[in-house]
Each structure stands twice: as structure tokens, then as C-alpha cells.
């Protein structure tokens, strides 16, 4: 049986842990990163079924990270999460073809639903 693996890139350790717990409780496997560089260095990044990506990262913004991942052949759908919702971020999320855009604090249902649909679309 295929285990759905979700990558979480979020620099706030509380949010990272909370999102990871939620998705694990909902039946997904998760792998957490707190910076863009850490994910780029990971050899298995491309194996993920979905990426939950924070916009504000310490070393780069989430949109740049997605572009760099895409250049390495990463094709999994991306769910953008942000604490700072504005027109520019929404546009940037559209530009990278984000599967969903969620503003913190988001309901667990909306994240689990987005991740489930994104992972299903990927398979």
C-alpha cells in the first residue's frame, strides 16, 4: 500500500510540529524541515506526494524554494501556508501553480482536505 508522504517546510517550530502531528493523526507520513536549504539538501525530496510550504523562511521565501525544487524535477503539488495574507502572496501562489493557499490560523479540516485532494491528484 502506498504511504502518502507530506513534506512540511515551516520555520516556526511550534507550527511545524502542530501541522506534522495533525497530518500524522490524519493518516499521512510527514517529514519536517525548518528551512529551504535543508530541504534542497535532501536527496529524497522528490519522493514526496505533497509539499506544505510556509512563505516566510529564514533563508529564502517559499515561492523561490518551490521554483528551485521544480528545477530539480520536483512535481508534487504545493500547499502554501502563510501568516501574512496579502494580494502579492496570493498572486505569487497562483504564479507557482499552488494547489491551495491557506492563511494561518487555518482549520485542520481545510489543511487535511487540501492535502488529501493534492495527494490524490498526484497519484
Amino acid at each position: 500500500m502506498h504511504v502518502t508522504t507530506i513534506i512540511i517546510v515551516e520555520d516556526d517550530s511550534s507550527v511545524n510540529l502542530a501541522v506534522s502531528r495533525l497530518l500524522e493523526a490524519a493518516g499521512f507520513d510527514t517529514r519536517s524541515f525548518t528551512s529551504g536549504g535543508a530541504l534542497l539538501d535532501d536527496q529524497h525530496a522528490c519522493d514526496a506526494d505533497c509539499l506544505v510550504l510556509d512563505v516566510h523562511l529564514p533563508d529564502m521565501n517559499g515561492f523561490d524554494l518551490q521554483r528551485r525544487l521544480a528545477a530539480t524535477g520536483f512535481t508534487a503539488p504545493v500547499i502554501v501556508i502563510t501568516a501574512h495574507d496579502d494580494a502579492m502572496h496570493r498572486r505569487a501562489a497562483r504564479d507557482i501553480g499552488a494547489f491551495a493557499y491557506l492563511t494561518k490560523p487555518f482549520s485542520s479540516l481545510s489543511l487535511v482536505d487540501a492535502v488529501s485532494r493534492a495527494a490524490a491528484a498526484q497519484r
Binding site: A18, L22, A87
Partner: protein, 225 residues
């Protein structure tokens, strides 16, 4: 600037709030299972407590920043203060093709006010006024500051624009925290401005202007001569 401080604080406080919501909903999910993982729920509750305290400390920090200076009341030449705010925003006004006019009452008494806080209020109103005129034809983009003495021991400062005005039904909401009509605003500027004006014993309000645009005015007390 107040706007920058609040933007940063709002971003920071959203993180623990977001973590709390996810954690609580995860705990609910776990507890709905036939054999709940109680030790995980306990771990979650400890983190919820931590994040709650974290949010509280962020809010306390904002309060400290805003109260950094207790009101230091002095006799303030409001006309001079208005002119200094206008000279601060002049480069921005030129860039936005906004013409600035003043109508300053030469007989205006000095207000009893904290000049730093007062400058923040005026700056906020002036920047809002310029923001409101981004869709106004260039030749009509006029911002005006008026000062005048009113009945009793008060003076009034009014910032007038030729922007979009506001929906009359929303008039009561304009000064509420987190109410904004801007794409990228947080909706705290006018709420903080109102707090500052009230701390001074004044009042602040807004009116739509006949012929378009809005007028934001506030009063300040002055000492009887």
C-alpha cells in the same frame, strides 16, 4: 512606525495561534478514536499552554512598545507639527502626484499633547488619505490639512482627501481593530489613532465629503489662557 510594529507583531502572534488551533483540533481527532493516544494528547496540551503564553508575551511586548513613552504632555504648536508631518511625507506625495494644501488657523492655541504620539496620529491620517486617492484622477489628488479652534477648550485637526470615501454603513467600523479597506493593510492604524486621541481627552471621527472623498478629524484639548 506603528504600522511596521503592528505588522510584525500580527505576523508573530499568528504563529502560536495557528499552532494552538492545529494542536487542539488534532487532540479532538485523537480523542475521537476508539483508543485515544492519551500521552500524545498530554503532550499537545503542554504545547498549547506554551503557545498561549508565547502569544501573550507578544501582545505584552506590543503594549510595551506602544506605551514605551507614557504620555508626555506639553504645550504643542499643532500648526508646526502638521507642517513637519507634511514635510516628512512630501517626497511620497510628489511620487504619488498628490497636491498638498494647508489651511492652518494662525490664532490656534497650543494643544496639551504628546508631540510624538500626535505626530503618529497625523502621519497615519495623511498616509491613509494618500492611499485613498490612488484611483483618483491625477489632477484631483488634493490632500488638505485644516486646523481650527472650536467652541470650548478644544481645537480640531482635519485631514481631507479626494479619494473613494467610505461606505456610510461602515462608518462605525472604520476605527475598529483589524477593519481595513486596503489590500495590504492590517486595520490597526485608525484603531491606534483613536486610542491615542482618546488618551489625550479628544475625539476622532470621519465624514464623507460632498463631491467625493473623506474627512478625518480629531479634537485636542488646550488649557484655558
Amino acid at each position: 512606525m506603528i504600522g511596521e510594529i503592528t505588522a510584525s507583531v500580527a505576523h508573530e502572534v499568528t504563529q502560536p495561534l495557528s499552532a494552538i488551533l492545529s494542536n487542539v483540533e488534532t487532540a479532538e481527532l485523537l480523542l475521537s478514536q476508539p483508543q485515544p493516544n492519551v500521552s500524545m494528547v498530554r503532550e499537545i496540551l503542554a504545547d498549547v499552554r506554551q503557545d498561549d503564553l508565547r502569544a501573550d508575551s507578544i501582545v505584552r511586548r506590543l503594549r510595551t512598545l506602544l506605551r514605551k513613552r507614557e504620555l508626555q504632555l506639553e504645550d504643542v504648536d499643532v500648526n508646526a507639527l502638521a507642517s513637519s508631518v507634511l514635510s516628512l511625507v512630501l517626497p511620497d506625495a510628489v511620487r504619488r502626484n498628490v497636491l498638498i494644501r494647508t489651511s492652518l488657523d494662525p490664532g490656534l492655541p497650543r494643544a496639551t499633547a504628546d508631540p510624538v504620539h500626535l505626530q503618529q496620529v497625523l502621519l497615519n491620517l495623511v498616509i491613509n488619505a494618500m492611499d485613498s486617492m490612488k484611483n483618483t484622477p491625477v489632477e484631483q489628488r488634493v490632500l488638505e490639512i485644516r486646523t481650527e479652534r472650536v467652541a470650548g477648550h478644544h481645537l480640531t485637526v482635519t485631514v481631507l482627501d479626494k479619494g473613494d470615501g467610505f461606505e456610510p454603513a461602515k462608518k462605525d467600523k472604520l476605527f475598529d481593530s483589524f477593519y481595513t479597506t486596503k489590500d495590504e493593510g492590517l486595520g490597526l492604524g485608525l484603531s491606534i489613532a483613536r486610542s491615542i486621541v482618546r488618551l489625550h481627552g479628544g475625539a476622532i471621527w470621519a465624514e464623507n465629503r460632498q463631491g467625493g472623498g473623506a474627512a478625518f478629524a480629531f479634537t485636542l484639548p488646550f488649557k484655558a489662557p
